[in-house]
């Protein structure tokens, strides 16, 4: 039996909004630690990993491990019915064939209740080891979104080059080329607007812009985004949610530059 109450429906709304364009169906794995999700896109070159810790819910109750197989498009349809600051309660049986969602409006006395049919999804879980990345860049999520959007107008892929001096996003396409360079700086008033670069060695990797633009849909979840790069390892794009995280992994393009 799962019963989890989220103070603000918008957290789940934004998470689903961010990943529904990457993944079609996926399992929400519920256990006593919280709700987790891991799924790959259809081409298996990107992976999304999400965790909403049990502390983010009040109350949170999950007696047994439950996998809720959901079509994200369907889930989004239901979540759109919730206002951002509604109280959201998720309920499911131990062997559920549907997930119950209850939206409570705090200001008005309005209760809406939905059931979503669940599906059996055969999903393999990948073990993601803790990795020491060569470069870790923290920047405002809006900035990252803007860079990706601007460059995607020119090209399919972007090379991210991290050096001591800064991080350079560079692309070239049929109509020309472009680049954006961010130098590390600290905003004293608002740390969220700072750009930080931690580097053990310089890296230069190329990624598909379409995927990055897709990841950026999670920008509303967090003011900052963390990019972690290492050679021969997927890029990690992480959005912190306070009560959990939303991480995207993307395989680098190899042999594209030659």
């Amino acid at each position: 039996m799962l019963e989890a109450r989220l103070e603000q429906a918008q957290i789940l709304k934004k998470v689903v909004e961010a990943i529904k364009d990457l993944v079609q169906d996926c399992n929400f794995d519920c256990n006593d630690a919280g709700i987790q999700l891991q799924a790959m896109d259809n081409s298996h070159v990107a992976l999304v990993s999400m965790k909403l810790g049990s502390e983010g819910f009040s109350p949170y109750r999950c007696d047994r491990n439950i996998a809720l197989g959901i079509n994200l498009n369907s889930l989004m349809k239901v979540l759109r019915a919730a206002a951002n600051d509604d109280l959201l309660t998720l309920k499911a049986e131990d062997q559920p064939d549907s997930l119950n969602l209850l939206f409570e409006s705090s200001s008005q006395d309005r209760l809406s209740e939905y059931d979503i049919k669940l599906m059996d999804i055969d999903q393999e879980h990948l073990g993601i080891p803790e990795t020491e990345y060569a470069a870790t860049i923290t920047l405002p999520s809006a900035e990252f979104q803007r860079i990706c959007r601007d460059l995607s107008a020119l090209s399919e892929s972007v090379s991210i080059e991290a050096t001591k001096d800064g991080v350079k996003f560079e692309c070239s396409g049929d109509i020309g080329n472009g680049s954006v360079t961010l130098r590390p700086h600290t905003n004293v008033e608002d740390d969220d607007k700072s750009t930080k670069i931690e580097l053990t060695e310089p890296v230069n990797l190329t990624f598909s812009l379409k995927y990055l633009v897709n990841f950026c849909k999670a920008s509303s979840l967090s003011a900052t985004v963390k990019l972690c790069l290492s050679n021969e390892v997927p890029l990690l794009v992480e959005y912190q949610m306070g009560v959990g995280y939303l991480r995207f992994y993307l395989a680098p393009k190899i042999g594209d530059e030659e």
């Binding site: 990457l22 259809n42 379409k210 897709n214 042999g255």
Partner: protein, 446 residues
């Protein structure tokens, strides 16, 4: 009249000149309440054979001329040649219609009537005219003599005219009323005295009469109509595919007739509802392929029409179902002549005697069969077209088949896929390794 002649087929009379025996009276239509003209036939010489069944009121039916195929009547006096007067029209097809009455007494005066409408007069039971009044609140409770009844009728003047022009009518009316009314005779002295009998509508008698009429009409429906009715109830798979199926069941002696098909298709349907899409498609396409193969091999050596007939006989619904259908059709005819209240209770009573359930059940079954068959038929149509184009292509999976399946799969997915996922599918992922090459699979239990 003379200025605007019309062609009527009138009830025949014993003596030759019948022109003075017909009067047209207007009564309110029992169903619609619209004043409607009825023809009253009143032979001058009251024949002793007048019985209760002798019709005297006739319904006037107009067989209208189609505006799309304009015709006209040519009426010629039947003088020198003894050939029967035939209405000649622009179109030869109508010559087999009955002769118009000899209204043209002037010799050698042929006549053309512009509108080729034909007016038919068919016997009409006066009971239908009396029914609305008989069943009304006022009269249904009390016993009334015929005269009182007619006098209290809203159209009493019409009835008195009728009695004056056709004295026998009250006798006939009384005998007609006997079949649906309880009677009490007041005088008791003489049975022949008409005025002594008093009538009150008996619902049981009325409905027994009506139901027996519905039944006899249902049994006597013209074959053109019954064919039309049963065609609607035909099981699906009408043409190419059905032959293939039939053939298939012939080949397998164990399979019983078209039961083979039906079972297969019902299974098909079940799988569909269970949402086992891949399995369903597999089975489906396999069935189709078989059908198409047989289609190619076998149909050639059997005359097409013969084959179709065999199949159609097999596909006909069981006779009891056909009968229920015919009943409901014949009931519809009665709807035109009965007040709404009587009609509804008549249909209720009829349903009790001849329950509709088997038909409904059959229709349900038919629906599912048709749904299953339409897909197969669809395929076989396109397939047969193709085979005409290139016979040598053989009975394998055609390109169209593959495309169709692809399209269907796509449609199913589209409903559940967001636009973003679709866009990502187009992204060039060359040079990108799979996630599984970076991260190893975990134990499912962690």
């Amino acid at each position: 009249m003379a200025s605007n002649p019309r062609v009527f087929i009138l009830p025949s009379s014993d003596n030759g000149d019948s022109s003075n025996e017909h009067t047209i009276l207007t009564f309110k239509h029992p169903n619609t309440n619209v004043p409607t003209r009825y023809l009253v036939h009143h032979p001058k010489t009251s024949s002793p054979s007048t019985s209760s069944s002798t019709p005297f009121i006739y319904e006037i039916l107009k067989v209208a001329n189609s505006p799309y195929a304009p015709r006209s009547w040519l009426i010629a006096p039947d003088t020198p040649p003894l050939s029967p007067p035939t209405p000649k029209t622009e179109d030869e097809e109508t010559t087999d219609k009955e002769a118009p009455p000899k209204e043209q007494e002037q010799e050698n005066q042929s006549l053309i009537i512009r509108d080729a409408h034909l007016y038919l007069t068919t016997p009409f039971d006066p009971l239908y005219l009396l029914l609305p009044h008989l069943s009304s609140q006022k009269t249904s409770r009390n016993f009334l003599t015929l005269d009182d009844l007619l006098e209290s009728h809203p159209e009493s003047t019409k009835w008195s005219t009728l009695q004056s022009i056709h004295p026998d009518s009250s006798k006939i009316l009384q005998s007609r009323l006997l079949s649906i009314c309880d009677t009490v005779s007041t005088g008791g002295d003489d049975d022949d005295d008409d005025s002594d009998q008093m009538f009150r509508l008996n619902q049981e008698k009325l409905y027994t009469l009506l139901i027996s009429r519905v039944e006899s009409v249902a049994k006597a429906l013209p074959s053109s109509l019954t064919k039309h009715i049963s065609k609607k109830l035909l099981k699906p798979i009408g043409t190419q595919a059905s032959i293939a199926w039939k053939r298939q069941s012939d080949i397998k002696p164990s399979g019983g007739g078209d039961g083979v098909i039906n079972d297969a298709e019902i299974e098909d349907q079940d799988e569909d509802t269970a949402q086992e899409v891949p399995v369903q498609e597999g089975a489906d396409s396999q069935l189709r392929r078989e059908a198409s193969k047989l289609n190619l091999e076998d149909t050639a050596d059997m005359p097409m029409e013969e084959a179709i007939n065999i199949v159609e006989e097999d596909l006909l619904p069981p006779p009891e179902i056909q009968y229920i259908c015919q009943l409901s059709h014949s009931l519809q005819f009665f709807q035109n002549y009965l007040p709404q209240g009587i009609y509804t209770s008549l249909s209720e009573r009829l349903n009790k005697i001849h329950p509709q359930e088997p038909l409904e059940k059959y229709m349900e079954e038919l629906k599912s069969l048709r749904a299953a068959a339409s897909a197969a038929l669809d395929f076989s149509m396109s397939h047969s077209k193709r085979t005409l184009e290139d016979l040598e292509a053989g009975g394998g999976k055609t390109k169209e088949d593959v495309e169709r399946e692809k399209k269907r799969k796509k449609k199913e997915e589209d409903a559940k896929t967001s636009s973003g996922v679709k866009k990502l599918a187009k992204v060039d992922t060359s040079g990108m390794m799979k996630m599984t090459s970076f991260f190893k699979k975990k134990d499912p239990k962690t």
